[in-house]
Symmetry: C2
Subunit: 528 residues, 2 copies
Amino acid sequence: MAPRTGEHATAGIESLDPVDWSGLRALGHRMVDDMFDHLEHLRDGPVWQPMPDSLRQELQSPLPRKPTPADVVYDDFRRLVQPYATGNLHPRFMGWVHGGGNPVGMLAELLAGGLNANLGGRDHAPIEVERQVIRWAAEMLGFPADASGVLVTGTSVANLIGVLVARSASLGPSVRQIGVDGARLVAYTSAVAHGCLPRAMEMAGLGRAALRMIECDRNGRMRLDMLAQRVAQDRASGLRPFLVVGTAGTVDIGAVDDLAAIADLAVSERLWFHVDGAFGAIAALAPGLRPLLTGIERADSVAFDFHKWAQVPYDAGCIVVRDATQHLETFGAEATYLKREDRGLAGGGVWPCDLGPDLSRGFRALKVWMTLSVYGADRIGAIAQQTCDLAAALAQRVDREPALQRLAPVALNIVCFRFVASDGDLDRLNADLVADLQESGIAAPSTTMVNGVLGIRAAIVNHRTNHADLAIMVDAVLEAGRIRAAKQKKPPVIHRGQVYREASRLGDAGTRGPFPAPGAGTLAAVPP
Amino acid sequence: MAPRTGEHATAGIESLDPVDWSGLRALGHRMVDDMFDHLEHLRDGPVWQPMPDSLRQELQSPLPRKPTPADVVYDDFRRLVQPYATGNLHPRFMGWVHGGGNPVGMLAELLAGGLNANLGGRDHAPIEVERQVIRWAAEMLGFPADASGVLVTGTSVANLIGVLVARSASLGPSVRQIGVDGARLVAYTSAVAHGCLPRAMEMAGLGRAALRMIECDRNGRMRLDMLAQRVAQDRASGLRPFLVVGTAGTVDIGAVDDLAAIADLAVSERLWFHVDGAFGAIAALAPGLRPLLTGIERADSVAFDFHKWAQVPYDAGCIVVRDATQHLETFGAEATYLKREDRGLAGGGVWPCDLGPDLSRGFRALKVWMTLSVYGADRIGAIAQQTCDLAAALAQRVDREPALQRLAPVALNIVCFRFVASDGDLDRLNADLVADLQESGIAAPSTTMVNGVLGIRAAIVNHRTNHADLAIMVDAVLEAGRIRAAKQKKPPVIHRGQVYREASRLGDAGTRGPFPAPGAGTLAAVPP
């Protein structure tokens, strides 16, 4: 006999939902206000500040066994975490190639967190949203409408997918069964390609030595003559060339390979043509930049990030593959518990988990969909163009400064230069200058090696950055450089307040006083 | 000559931030209220409903070039996306092993989306939060405090990392340089292990044929005698056994391998011992379940998800590796532009990008940190225990129903059974029943194959599920089964409203009327 329905009813059952929702709801409203306040007044704070060791210690605790009120945990977040974040929201963050995020994307994350959808598979609207985003990506790149694709954390994983699809296309899907033993595959990319490409070769079992890093010209573009020569050599040695990776926007200087020429060579040499367009692919949305990418529409696959130049919050990478069948054959699986039905929740055709390594997948498509829908692709493209215009202006300023030397041409939005009005170890000096600036909170460029010397790299990615921000950054470099050069052993004395007030005069640094963080307001706190 | 600071000032500069923030801020508040309303009244709606084709079509549009007001895009989300999500928030979602999410985790996503931190590396508080979460994970598993680890999308990627660390530990880091050619590595796991393990072997270039799927006993646990025998055979054949993967909670029936015995064998055979604890590892937080995991604390690495049994919103997977050096040696890289400094923003020691395939990484640590901090680990463990208790009660109910047959022992929280009061193709019938239930919106179990027959799988993962939910699900199975059995060609006539009213009488189904979705309120809409 069956028990009567609900015999046990809810006896003893507890969920993680509150009995009274009002407190948590109120906290949610407070968080919205706080985050909007934070975004609205970004300029009033430092770009970045080091986390004090005392707070670092305070964050460390054993696994919490007992509950803590949500507002207390939120206060910890406000005190220990938020003030010491990466800094890439700030208009004077110019380190690496980090996007600035956007408030619509932030709100999309709230919605996605609430829906808690798993986009590994099954038949539901969030998957349709991701499919839509992939179609938009294909359209942006000039790919056919039936191209395949999937969202991932970032281009590192997207490039891994590219390598794996190329591997499968070359060896056939049987590689999944038998592995790469004896395959002797070799791939090609530029000497300044992203470090995740050798890593993808490692993970794929091919080894990084099988990735030929081809010499570049003085503009940081892969030399096609050297590429053709190396392919011929490898074939003569009995190896099996299978893949060439072009770069659209190198991380060091923003160079874009001659993608059309690579496409030609890929056809004639029967190589899979993958493009690492981590940030550069978004140039396709800017009419003034798009010609730089000519040839990308002929690639077999393209990897790129929405969280860099497209300003979608982290993380949101993407791969698009021209031939949907080859993509599916690389990853498609049918486990018993994932069995696809022709109807019901288990329907829906090709699932995202058939297209990459992720099976559990959050709804990162929503922030991409909402960002592109609200701002429109033209505006995202205009922002990309704007950062390039800013970089050109910065390069002009650097070229006019006797104390500075530019280290590379400016292809897109990255300017590499260094302070040279000093004797001694310029690499060390410039590394120190960059750390000085970062720790001052005034600006955060990063360093990189260009042609064997260490440079200051200013990557203008953030949509909030303006000309005054660049001026403040350069002024701070010059000031700190002169002080360091004059007195190597004494701390520099440039005051953050000084630069800050100058920015205020220009009317774009907000109306609050100098940075409030104690001890972080000057470059003087920095050890030499 | 340098231009005067700010010569160009802000001329022509536009950002994605609004000039007037009040509209977007108000929309944010509306979203908070809407999402809290949604969570508070989950029971009033269907578990899942198919997305009408008309709406699917409406979602499809060319890449939007021009902007659209944020509230209009949000209305589209409310109309096209939210009603047709996966359903795993709902207490009667029992399909696959999906967590139910939680409101604190939802709010954490808002904050993380606002901060927009990239947790690939550098020195900032979000990385400290992730390190803290990893220490908590190590503590939960009984690992040493200096164990290494990293958050990833999910266990599929975490298992890939496990395979790659094991590969590197076996062959040495030189595998990164030269690949797996000639290595002849072979690995072992149970015949009912997760499909992402063969996929990890594929991606790693070893091939899925090099993963021996070892026969299980009748409880779904890997047979250790067969394992030992197969290792010996492989060694005799000149192959190189390097890895054994134990499973803590199989997806089909929730079985847990004898991890202590596998640990012993791994030591004696010098194999890397990895545990796929996708959902089961969280049992370590429940005193009543923890003994099932005995031996997990001796593993070399453990992969698991916070978004399943720990109810953190998707996606939040984790891997913990006992030997931090071996973990680092598998992935650690030093590209020029990622150069670590001893101070400044580029400081901070080992970065998460040194520990897995992701370089761009969102702040998924925050939702884990806040969920564990607010609820406390004991309560998460109590929820896991509760779902097991519910599964035990469900098994009893199934055993008492003559029309139902249980297909597997209940090790944790998964009950597999099927409707048997019918002649004919029971596999087809039960697949239809599951789709009927899913499309009715009443409950969403899934199907799986157990010992060669198709079963109804009810995975009790959601913290909101209670006894009445199970009763409603079983009643609906019985009703739909009887109707289908009686009239194979005629649609069943059970009304969602009928079951719904029964639930309402029990006082745990909210106070709103029957499901509002037109045409989705009965099982009758389902084609046979």
